[in-house]
Each structure stands twice: as structure tokens, then as C-alpha cells.
């Protein structure tokens, strides 16, 4: 759902379940998308990225899905572990021209994994 200020969306799952974290991005011109994981007291850690010429990309235990029609991005985490507990951010970028590297971040989702 929507979040304002300190009230980030939250997702609670049991260890071993699959997690799906969603993100609606804002700019239809964006052509590069990234998911980051941020643990408490640390900087964002790169998880996986995808370009707009793809609709799915898989990594180790993670899959990113991109739906450009509705400007939606999701991160699927398989067999979620307690170490996956963190805030997850999507980010978007327009790779060409002067916008290269200038990431626009989504609001973030707090993932809590219960043993």
C-alpha cells in the first residue's frame, strides 16, 4: 500500500516461504531498474538489476519481474531466510544522456522473516 513519511510498507513471512516485494515506478522513460537491500546501520546493497528489454531476470534465490505496461517491478525471494530481513528498495534510471547513473528510489518495503 501507500506509505507516507515513516510508515513504510511491511511484509512478514515465515522462514522458508517465498517473498514477493512490489514496486511501482514513476517514469515511463526509465530503462534500467535495480533492487537494493538495506540492513540496519548499513548502506544499500545491490541485489539484482534488469533492463527494459527484458521482463524477467533470475539470480541466486532472487527473481526480478518487470511489467512496463503498468510500470511495475517485483522482487521474488525464494526460501526466505532470517538473514533476508531488511528494507528493500527499487530504483530506476534512464541510462542515456545526462541522467545516466542518477537513481530514483522507491519508498522501500520492510521485510521481516520469522524463524
Amino acid at each position: 500500500g501507500e506509505s507516507v513519511g515513516l510508515h513504510l510498507p511491511t511484509l512478514s513471512v515465515q522462514e522458508g516461504d517465498n517473498s514477493i516485494i512490489n514496486c511501482a515506478y514513476s517514469n515511463s522513460a526509465s530503462d534500467y531498474f535495480i533492487w537494493y537491500k538495506q540492513e540496519s546501520g548499513k548502506g544499500p546493497q545491490f541485489i539484482i538489476d534488469i533492463r527494459s528489454n527484458m521482463d524477467k531476470r533470475q539470480g541466486q534465490r532472487v527473481t526480478v519481474l518487470l511489467n512496463k505496461t503498468v510500470k511495475h517491478l517485483s522482487l521474488q525471494i525464494a526460501a526466505t531466510q532470517p538473514g533476508d530481513s531488511a528494507v528493500y528498495f527499487c530504483a530506476e534510471n534512464i541510462e542515456g544522456g545526462t541522467s545516466y547513473g542518477k537513481l530514483t528510489f522507491g519508498q522501500g518495503t520492510i521485510l521481516t522473516v520469522h524463524p
Binding site: 515513516l6 545491490f46 534510471n93 528510489f105
Partner: protein, 114 residues
Amino acid sequence: SAVISQKPSRDICQRGTSLTIQCQVDSQVTMMFWYRQQPGQSLTLIATANQGSEATYESGFVIDKFPISRPNLTFSTLTVSNMSPEDSSIYLCSGVRGGTDTQYFGPGTRLTVL
């Protein structure tokens, strides 16, 4: 992944003072950026740190408040000037490795202004 370090990791400052944050990246990084993360919120881009020239600031951020230097390819500083409690945030530097689009982040500097 690129190695990015920041100093200090945290600081508590009095209003009206200034703090300079240092960021060191490994030699494979080409582009560097500075972001702000206000408490409980997402990241917002402050500026692109350009080597040997003035930084490129995003809307809402100005050089007088956030002067940035990047004297060489692997080092940049961000100064938060004339601080107020509203400047209390995490300040993060990031870098893009040459030949890739992957952007890596430093651990952040946690600033509290009293």
C-alpha cells in the same frame, strides 16, 4: 563489488556548524554520486560529483549548502554547511564501476544535528 568507504561513520554536530564527509572508492569506479536518506525514508540524489569540476546538483540542492569536491577519480567530499536539525540524515556516496551500470553504495554517514 566496488569498495567504497566513508568517514566519519557518524557524528553529532551543533547547529550552525559544518561537517565534511569523505568518500574513498576503488580505482574501478568512474562515476560518483552523493545521496541523502532522511530518517525512515528512501534515498534522494543530492548531486553528481564530477572529477576536477563543479558538481551537478539535483533540484532542491545547492552548492552553497552542500559543496562537493572530487579532486581525483577515487576521492570525493561532501560538506553539509550551516547545519540545522533538518539536516539530520544519513549521507551516502555511491560509485558506478567502469564498463558496468552497477551502482554501489558506501556504508553511509549518520549525522545528527542538535
